[in-house]
C-alpha cells in the first residue's frame, strides 16, 4: 500500500508537458505500435530463468527416475526411487516433522503475531504513543533480519548442554534437575528446534499485521467503543475481518518457508539425534552430498516441490473462494 502511495507521489513531477515539437517524426503518431515488440525486453530474463530454473527443474525430475550416484552416467530406473520413497519411513518421518515446522513457523507465529500486533496497535500505539509501538515492533522483528543460520547459532549456543546459558540459569535458580541436552536428546530436540523457529519467525506477522491495521478507519473502533463493544468483541468484529487478506499472505508464505526450511536444521541439529529433527529438504541434501544417492535425493526434492505446489494451489483457491463469498455478502 505504502508502495503505491509513494509511487503516485513521485509520479507528479515527472509528467513532462507534451511539447509536440517532434510530433512529425514517423512512429510517434502511432505510439503503441511503434518499433520492436516488447518481447525483446523479456529475452535476458527469460533466458536466465530457463538456464537456472527451468532446465535444472526438468533435469532434477529426470534424475528422480534414475539411479544416478554422481560418478557413472545416470541409468534409467523407472519408478524404483518413487517406490522406495513411498516405503521409506525416514521420508514419512521428515514430512511428519514438516507438520511440526508448520506449527512452529506458521500457526504459533500467526497467533502470537496477531495478539502482539493488535496490542501494539490498539493499546500501546493509542495510549502510550506511536513511537513506542514502532520501537517494540522493530524489537520483535529483529530475529527476522538475521541469516537464519546465525539466528540458530545464537540459540544453539544458549542451549549447549555443558556450560550453555539455559542450563546455567536453571541451575542458578535451583531448577538444575530440568537441565538437559536440549538439542542432543531425542525427546527434546524437535521441541527445542520448534521454539527457536517460533522466535525467528514471530516478527514477520507482527509487522505485516500492524501494517494491515493501519488501513482500518479509527472511527470504526471508536464507534464500536461508544456502542459498548469490549476489546474482544472489537477484535473479532473489526480487526480479524479487516486483516484477512494479510493473514492469507502470511499463512501461504510461512507455510512454504516451513516446508522448505533448511538452514536452522543444518546449523542446530543436522537432522539428529537419530533423525528426530530430519526435514525433507535436509534429507534430500544429505542424500545428494553425504550418501551420494543423487537419484534418490532428486526424488525427495521433486516430491517436496509437488507438495509445495499443491499447498499453494489449495491456498490460492481457498483465498479466491473467501473473497468471492465476501463480495456476495
Amino acid at each position: 500500500m505504502t508502495l503505491i502511495e509513494s509511487r503516485a507521489d513521485a509520479t507528479r513531477p515527472a509528467v513532462a508537458p507534451p511539447t509536440g515539437r517532434r510530433r512529425g517524426r514517423g512512429d510517434s503518431l502511432v505510439p503503441f505500435l511503434s518499433g520492436r515488440s516488447y518481447w525483446w525486453y523479456l529475452l535476458p530474463g527469460f533466458a536466465l530463468l530457463t538456464l537456472i530454473i527451468l532446465v535444472p527443474l526438468v533435469w532434477n525430475i529426470y534424475l528422480s527416475f534414475t539411479d544416478y550416484r554422481g560418478i557413472i552416467a545416470p541409468q534409467w530406473s523407472g519408478l524404483d526411487n518413487w517406490v522406495t520413497l513411498f516405503h521409506d519411513e525416514r521420508f514419512w518421518l521428515s514430512f511428519r516433522n514438516s507438520v511440526a515446522m508448520i506449527l512452529a513457523m506458521v500457526i504459533a507465529p500467526t497467533v502470537i503475531g496477531l495478539l502482539v500486533a493488535a496490542a501494539l496497535f490498539d493499546v500501546i500505539g493509542r495510549k502510550f504513543g506511536a513511537k513506542l509501538a514502532a520501537f517494540l515492533r522493530a524489537t520483535y522483528y529483529l530475529p527476522q533480519i538475521l541469516p537464519s543460520v546465525i539466528a540458530a547459532i545464537v540459540i544453539g549456543w544458549i542451549l549447549r548442554p555443558e556450560n550453555g546459558a539455559l542450563n546455567t540459569i536453571l541451575q542458578a535458580v535451583g531448577l538444575g534437575q530440568f537441565a538437559s541436552n536440549w538439542l542432543g536428546a531425542p525427546d527434546t530436540a524437535l521441541v527445542s528446534l520448534m521454539v527457536v523457529l517460533v522466535w525467528i519467525q514471530v516478527g514477520y506477522p507482527v509487522v505485516i499485521f500492524m501494517a494491515a491495521l493501519e488501513r482500518v478507519d479509527p472511527e470504526l473502533y471508536e464507534a464500536a467503543e461508544i456502542d459498548g463493544a469490549g476489546w474482544l468483541r472489537r477484535f473479532a468484529a473489526i480487526t480479524m475481518p479487516m486483516i484477512r487478506p494479510e493473514m492469507f499472505v502470511v499463512a501461504l508464505t510461512c507455510t512454504i518457508a516451513a516446508l522448505k526450511v533448511f538452514g536452522p536444521v543444518y546449523a542446530l541439529t543436522g537432522g539428529g539425534p537419530n533423525f528426530a529433527t530430519i526435514v525433507p529438504s535436509y534429507y534430500s541434501y544429505s542424500q545428494f552430498f553425504q550418501n551420494q544417492q543423487v537419484g534418490y535425493g532428486a526424488t525427495i526434492a521433486t516430491a517436496l516441490t509437488v507438495v509445495i505446489m499443491l499447498v499453494s494451489i489449495v491456498f490460492v483457491w481457498a483465498q479466491n473462494r473467501a473473497e468471492r463469498k465476501e463480495r456476495e455478502r
Binding site: M1, R23, P44, L48, T139, P147, A172, S281
Partner: protein, 291 residues
Amino acid sequence: MSATSLLVTGETGHRNRRRRTVGDWIVLAVIVITALVVVFPFLLILINAFKSPSDYATGGPLQLPTALHFDGIAAFWERVDFTGKLWNSLFISGVVAVLAVVVSVLNAYAIGIGRVRGRVPLILVFLLANMLPQEVLLYPLYTIFRTIGLYDNVWSVIITFVVIQSAFGTYLLASVFGTFPKEIIEAAALDGAGRWLTLWRVIVPVSRPTLGVLMVFFFIWTWNEFLIPLTFLISNANQTVPVAISVLQGDRLMDVTTTSASALLGLLPTLIFFLIFQRTLSRGITAGAVK
C-alpha cells in the same frame, strides 16, 4: 509509520492519555516482557562475546564481563579471515541486488506495460521459480557450474540469485507497472521517446522508491542465503559470512566465548544494515504483503 498515521495516533493518544486503564498497563507489561524475551539472546551474545574464557567459567553467562576482552572476537576474525568473508558477502549481495533489479525492470516492462501475450502464464512461471525448494536446482546447477568452470566461484552464486530474486521482482513490479498512469507513457511517446528511452527516462525514475525497496530486500535476502552458497562455494576464500560461521560451529575446539564472538560477528553486519534501512524495510514488507 507514515507521517499521517503518526499524527493521527499521536492526537488520539493525547486525548486518551488520561484514560489509561489498569488493563492498558497490563497489556504494556506483557508486550514489553515478551519483547525482552525476544531480545534476550542478543543481550546474552553481547555480554559474553567480550568475556575471557576464565571470566565465563567463574561468572557464568549472565554476569557482566569483569573486563572488556576482545581476544575472542579478534581470534575468530583472524581464524576465518572475516574481512575476506565480509567482502565476499558484500560483493555477492550488492551485485545481485543491482542486477536482479535491472532484470526485474526489463521483465516487468514487457509484462506490465507491454502487456505481451501470455503474461499470466509468464507470471506464474516466475512465481514458480521463487517457490521451488532450492534442493530441486542443486544437483543440476552443480553439474552445470562444474562443466562451465564456475563451480567454487562467486559468480555461480551471483547468477543463481539474480534469477531467483528477479523472479520475485518481476512478479511484484509487473503488478506495479500494470497500474502505471497511461498518460505519462503517451506523453513520452508524443515527445518522440522510443520504448527504450521511455523505460529509462520515464518509468524507472518514477518508480525509483519501489526499486529502492526491492534492491534493499534483494541485498538482505541474498546476504542471508545459505544452502546454495554452502554447496557452491566450498573453498575457504570464497565463502560468505553465514557459511563461514556455520562451518566452524562443528569445531569442538571452539570455546563458549569464541562461539559467542562468532555469533556477534555474524549478526552485526545485518544489524547495522537494518538500522540504516529500517524505514525502507518496513515500507517494503508492507508492499510485499498488500498487492
